[in-house]
Amino acid sequence: MILVNYLAAVALFGTGLYVLLTRRNLIKIVMGLSLMEASTYLFLVSLAYRAGSTAPILLSPPPGHTARQLAHGNVADPVLQNFCLTAVVIGVAVTAVFLSVVVRVAQHYRTLDADQVRAMRG
């Protein structure tokens, strides 16, 4: 029933997109983006899951197995876990950049309402 996880990730993504499209508060827009990021983490980790599998660690294989057997046996997908690690780091970096821009916007325009920030408008 990993499909439930996939659909939950899609729902999270949709929620984040909705927040992004409809809110005018810049902090909430950044929160919407973070929600969308979080949905990719959930999706990648769910995609790596295999029914009844163990972690892809060859350090101490379950009793009766050797590391070699484990490498060919039923384990979760390590490549997608690596993708998730990458996504987390990039998500943190991007959120930090957005937040610092928001702080500067708030200082310059004295508002967080995206509609009031209109210096670039004709």
């Binding site: 990993i2 499909l3 996939y6 659909l7 990730a9 899609v10 729902a11 993504f13 949709g14 929620t15 997109l17 909705y18 499209l21 409809t22 809110r23 005018r24 508060n25 999706f43 995609l47 899951y49 295999r50 029914a51 972690a55 892809p56 660690i57 060859l58 350090l59 590391a67 070699r68 490498a71 060919h72 384990v75 997908d77 390590p78 490549v79 997608l80 876990q81 690596n82 690690l85 990458t86 987390v88 780091v89 990039i90 943190v92 970096a93 991007v94 930090a96 950049v97 937040l99 610092s100 821009v101 702080v103 500067r104 200082q107 004295r110 309402d113 509609d115």
Partner: protein, 335 residues
């Protein structure tokens, strides 16, 4: 209308304004909901058709699991992928992180160079907060300035700062100065801190078991933030300095470039392993992967620390913009 009446009207208008912002206006919620729901539906249909939990592992995952022990002597395939098979990807990610850190530094940087993240703004605070009589600030700026003055009230003419929060006698009336936390928190953090720091380093050194530079770096940032939260910024100001952190960060980046590039020199391929592999399940068993992981610890820990402290230390720059200041004399610019 009398002056008082005008003022009254203004405050009513402002109150209405505030109420309007508290009700939080939105942009076309129905269009947004429709678009978001449409995209979610399309994605939902797409994920219904992708492999589920009973699908066989992709070939690339099997390959990584297969070569982890023979080629890298690593018992942790995820680390083998991060720093070995997909090392080039991690290399790119590192520099994406570096680019983000640089953007934050550029965005949050005050106009004059500073040696510390905190405290230095206080030196020029009097001049900074003074209104320039020649310019005559507009009402919103006056309001913002007075609000900032109110916020800083305690800091600028409060009691003498003490050397360490431990010197404040117990039972001093609350709220304590926002420098440090209570003695309970400080003691707990003193106990936890060395354990946490060792755990962070363990994650990196024992890279053949789950761990690596990224989680290790995040733990080291946690250590720094705990010290900051518990003991105040004065305690960390000797370590958390922009010049030190930024140089460390760039040294980490240089180490990563060197690690990956020497593979091209010695082995003929970028990010190939050029170090001898130690025995299985020893800290040096990953060869170049462990070196990469350790450099990544430096990179992530200092990068995240720079970002967090740059955001914490961000202060309002009252110097007028070049375009705006020109009408009212030289507007205190460039003096």
């Amino acid at each position: 209308m009398t002056r008082a009446g005008i003022d009254d009207n203004r405050s009513v208008a402002r109150a209405a304004d505030r109420e309007a912002t508290e009700r939080e206006p939105r942009h076309r919620p129905w269009v947004g909901a429709l678009l978001a729901a449409g995209i979610a539906a399309a994605l939902g249909v797409a994920v219904a058709g992708i492999p589920r939990e009973h699908a066989p592992l992709p070939l690339i995952a099997r390959y990584a699991l297969d070569i982890a022990i023979p080629r890298w002597k690593l018992t942790e395939p995820v680390n083998e992928i991060v720093y070995g098979t997909r090392g080039f990807d991690t290399f790119g990610e590192t520099f994406l992180l570096l680019a983000a850190v640089m953007s934050v530094v550029v965005i949050t940087r005050p106009r004059e160079p500073r040696r510390g993240y905190f405290g230095e703004a206080a030196a020029g605070a009097r001049e900074q907060t003074q209104d320039d009589p020649a310019v005559g600030a507009d009402p919103t700026e006056q309001e913002a300035r007075s609000a900032e003055r109110r916020e800083q009230g305690g800091a600028s003419h409060g009691e003498e700062p003490v050397e360490t929060p431990d010197a404040v006698p117990l039972g001093t009336p609350a709220p304590e100065r926002a420098e440090a936390m209570t003695v309970v928190v400080r003691t707990a953090i003193r106990v936890v801190l060395p354990i946490l720091a060792v755990a962070g380093l363990y994650l990196v050194v024992w890279g053949y078991s789950p761990g690596g530079g990224f989680p290790g770096g995040a733990v080291m940032l946690g250590v720094l933030l705990l010290v900051y939260a518990a003991f105040g910024r004065r305690k960390i100001s000797r370590v958390i300095r922009p010049d030190l952190l930024e140089n460390l960060e760039l040294a980490g980046a240089a180490l990563i470039i060197m690690t990956e590039f020497l593979g091209l020199v010695f082995q003929g391929s970028f990010s190939a392993n050029w170090l001898p592999l130690a025995q299985l399940m020893t800290p040096l068993s990953g060869g170049v992967a462990q070196l990469f992981s350790a450099s990544e610890l430096i990179e992530v820990a200092t990068g995240l620390a720079i970002v967090v402290f740059a955001l914490l230390g961000i202060s309002h720059d009252w110097a007028p913009d070049e375009g705006r200041g020109s009408s009212g004399g030289d507007g205190g610019q460039g003096q």
